[in-house]
């Protein structure tokens, strides 16, 4: 393999990591506030559909993006209603959201476009195009660093840069602000936050809303940037890989970046090579596809670096009277 191929693989790693990273950060906010979210997949799917449909209808990708965020927020509202207001089972609510999105996107898609659940391909204004960073063309000829800047760093859609910028932003919000402190506290010890006079429900709803906005971005990226249009079940388990990355990252933003890049790399490798020949053994493509899940199981089991979830995760808060 030559240098250009490495650049290509890393380039597609960045593209494929972006939706994982957005969804992973979304899950991070929700779970850090004590709301388990296995509905990331469904929210992404709903957002992907809504943003592609609206982009197609209006010809404006920004309207589509807003539509995607709105759709994901609606799903988040259901999750919040079920798991915060009515103190229902958060996991069951997540499962319901996944199926709701899976059914509704095809049902509405077929009804609106008659393309078997797909949206029509999006035109130039209706999808996010690649941004060429300043001087990218000028430095492209410099050896090593030139291609890294021109091909790897430059030439992605705006959402890619947004998602990477969201990592330090999330870290700052969670660890350097009062809001972040309260959000984390609500996931560890809600009673203490309640005693301090902060609304547990309010904090948790805020976290679920942030989760909605971020999954909205993730879904919009899938259908309007990574590909041009929505296809049925296009999230294809990415929401669950993001969940896996979240556990791998031990619910921390910077670790999340690393985990998502790793899982993105695995996906990029699985797409580029069918089977990887290591000399002694041949790794089949199915092994590469299953690897993120296997890693997560191993991490969760605590065989390598134990992952401990937020302590109050999954349990509804009942105010003491």
């Amino acid at each position: 393999m030559d240098f250009a191929s490495y650049i290509q693989i890393l380039d597609s790693t960045i593209r494929l990591s972006t939706p994982l990273l957005l969804a992973c950060l979304a899950g991070l906010f929700s779970e850090r506030a004590g709301i388990f979210d296995i509905g990331l997949e469904g929210k992404m799917l709903a957002a992907a559909f809504a943003s592609a449909a609206l982009s197609y209808a209006t010809g404006n990708v920004w309207v589509g993006l807003l539509g995607g965020i709105f759709a994901a927020l609606l799903m988040s509202a259901i999750h919040g209603l079920a798991s915060i207001t009515f103190r229902g089972n958060q996991l069951i609510s997540g499962v319901a959201i996944n199926f709701l999105a899976s059914g509704l996107t095809v049902l509405l898609g077929q009804n609106w476009f008659q393309l078997g659940g797909r949206t029509p391909p999006l035109g130039v204004g209706a999808r996010f195009t690649e941004i060429t960073l300043p001087f990218a063309d000028d430095v492209a000829n410099i050896p090593i660093l030139g291609p890294i800047y021109a091909d790897l760093i430059s030439g992605h859609s705006i959402l890619v840069y947004v998602s990477f910028a969201l990592v330090p932003a999330s870290a700052w919000l969670l660890y350097r602000t009062r809001f972040g402190l309260r959000l984390r506290a609500v996931g560890e010890n809600p009673a203490a936050v309640d005693t301090a006079g902060v609304s547990v429900k309010g904090m948790r709803f805020a976290a679920v809303c942030i989760c909605g906005v971020l999954t909205g971005l993730a879904g919009a990226y899938l259908s309007t940037a990574l590909s041009s249009g929505f296809g049925r079940e296009m999230t294809a388990g990415k929401g669950f890989i993001a969940l896996a990355a979240l556990i791998f990252a031990k619910w921390r933003p910077w670790y999340a970046l690393g985990a998502c890049l790793l899982f993105g790399l695995l996906e990029a490798l699985a797409i580029r090579f069918q089977n990887i020949d290591l000399g002694l053994i041949v790794l089949p493509v199915q092994f590469m596809q299953a690897l993120p899940y296997v890693i997560t199981v191993v991490i969760l089991a605590g065989f390598i670096g134990r992952a401990i979830p937020p302590r109050a995760g999954g349990t509804p808060y009942v105010k003491e009277l």
């Binding site: 089972n89 899976s102 899940y293 199981v297």
Partner: protein, 364 residues
């Protein structure tokens, strides 16, 4: 707040939840410009209007009974087994291996072997997350989700690289020998002189599913293990204090749960397809969640809910055939049933409880 009478808790609450789910689905049908009443008519005609329709309804219902019972047993132990899909996938592998590589003289022997093998494979697949939860404290929901994906990749690998006949392009095993084919429901009912369509995939597995309903009922409410499972599910601390071993109960509950989910492969792989396909489970593992929630974890409830979902599945296929409503409508109904019977249970229950309390006051 007064406790609801038993009948209201067992029947009224789930019925109201399902009614709300159906009402919203009706609105969805209206929203896409179709007539909900006409749609329901198409579904009833297609799923229940002929023995052909009934055959498909019962075939699907058989799958959902198995997966629903599986989820229910785990729920009784306070465990959410979301991995029925992967466990049934492995169950399919178990069925395929015994049907492909052992020359059976008669279907009844092949059936017994397939039951044992599918249950064994699936139980093993469920036992790993159970062990990890009990011993290592990893969350069983996450692990079983991951195991669904790992199972899919594993089966994909085995089908493509091992079981696929030479020269064949699609990832599926060879056809099973004729001798392993299960008798259809028409043959079973024919013994009693009941005429039934012979063109449906419904087969003798339905009887096995119904026997499993009875066995699970017996297990949960009439055995020591069942008591331990329920005690563990109600309060882990109290159960441990009473001398119940948490590791053992988690393992037993998940092994039984997985085995039940795996048994559905007898119906789909041996009973219908006669070969192992890449996606023979087709979401039945997840529908088990809806079925179990709706049936309130009781085998009789699971039986009824499985019939309802069998009807929905077959009716949905008919809808897609005769109207412009795609069969994904069923996925929406399924989601709403899970949402209202599972996550929004309090929202449905509170108004009913308040109504009952009002009536109680008037009596006094």
């Amino acid at each position: 707040m007064e406790k609801l009478p038993k009948w209201a808790d067992a029947f009224l609450v789930p019925l109201v939840s399902v009614f709300i789910a159906f009402a919203i689905s009706g609105l969805v049908i209206l929203a896409v410009g179709e007539d909900p009443i006409a749609a329901l008519q198409v579904m009833i005609d297609g799923a229940l209007g002929s023995t052909y329709g009934w055959g498909y309804t019962l075939y699907y219902a058989t799958n959902f009974m198995f997966t629903g019972l599986g989820v229910a047993v785990a729920f009784h132990a306070g465990l959410f087994n979301i991995g029925g899909e992967g466990q049934a996938t492995l169950g399919g592998l178990g069925v395929a291996l015994v049907c492909l590589f052992i020359p059976w003289p008669h279907w009844s022997l092949a059936l017994c072997a397939a039951i044992v093998s599918s249950a064994l494979f699936a139980a093993l697949w469920a036992a790993i997350p159970a062990w990890l939860q009990a011993k290592r404290g990893s969350h069983i929901v996450i692990t079983t989700i991951m195991f669904n994906f790992i199972a899919a990749s594993l089966l994909n690998y085995i089908l493509v690289n091992q079981l696929r006949p030479k020269g064949s392009m699609d990832p599926a095993s060879a056809r099973f020998p004729q001798a392993t084919n299960l008798p259809g429901l028409d043959q079973v009912l024919g013994l009693f002189g009941i005429p039934f369509s012979s063109k449906t995939p419904a087969n003798i597995s339905l009887i096995i599913a119904m026997i499993c309903c009875i066995l699970v009922w017996f297990l949960i409410w009439h055995t020591r293990l069942g008591f331990a499972i329920r005690a563990f599910g109600k309060s882990e601390k109290a159960a441990v204090y009473a001398g119940i071993n948490p590791v053992r109960i988690t393992l037993y509950a998940m092994i039984i749960s997985g085995a039940l989910a795996g048994l559905m492969a007898v119906n789909t792989v041996q009973g219908e397809a006669n070969r192992l396909l890449l996606n023979s489970v087709e979401g039945a593992g997840f529908i088990g969640i809806a079925v179990s929630l709706m049936g309130r974890g009781h085998p009789f409830g699971v039986f009824l809910a499985a019939l309802l979902f069998g009807f929905l599945y077959q009716g949905g296929a008919e809808l897609a055939l005769w109207t412009k409503i795609p069969r994904e409508l069923i996925t929406v109904i399924q989601a709403l049933v899970i949402l209202f019977t599972g996550a929004l249970d309090q929202m449905v229950r509170r108004p009913i409880e308040i109504t009952f309390a009002l009536f109680k006051k008037k009596e006094h």
